[in-house]
Symmetry: C2
Subunit: 84 residues, 2 copies
């Protein structure tokens, strides 16, 4: 068995309003950082997984994203896997 | 002025307990994914920034992280910048 590290980003879909990001974009102005725009805030998830190959690890991470980590109605996910 | 895209990860520091990650690690077992371990959950932030150079953009993102996006007592951040 090999150990892999997965780094997953779960972001609100583009069509969906992101009120937290909007609020933070507004706060940037008050900090004198008005050149920062279009902030969107999601989740970053790191995890370790034991599997026989990178492909199996990738399938398991996919399954974890679909069933628990992301709400596919409102969020989309991307991830990277590397062997430790 | 050029436009840059920044992708920022804000994660709980290693020394700090991550109760959300612990809870999700427990749920993985119930989903039949017991090979997934050490889940840690933080924030992923994407934003756009206008600046004259990549170095200036990087400094502004650094400033935004320190003053608003990350709580440096409990969290650490990393980011990547690319020109659009």
């Amino acid at each position: 068995m090999k150990t892999f590290q997965a780094e997953i980003d779960v972001m609100p879909k583009k069509e969906i309003l992101d009120p937290q990001g909007k609020a933070v974009t507004g706060s940037m102005k008050n900090l004198g950082l008005a050149e920062i725009q279009n902030i969107r805030i999601g989740k970053h998830i790191s995890l370790q997984i034991e599997a026989e190959s990178e492909q199996i690890a990738s399938e398991k991470v996919e399954q974890a994203c679909k069933s628990l980590l992301a709400n596919l109605i409102m969020e989309s996910y991307t991830f990277k896997i590397e062997q430790l």
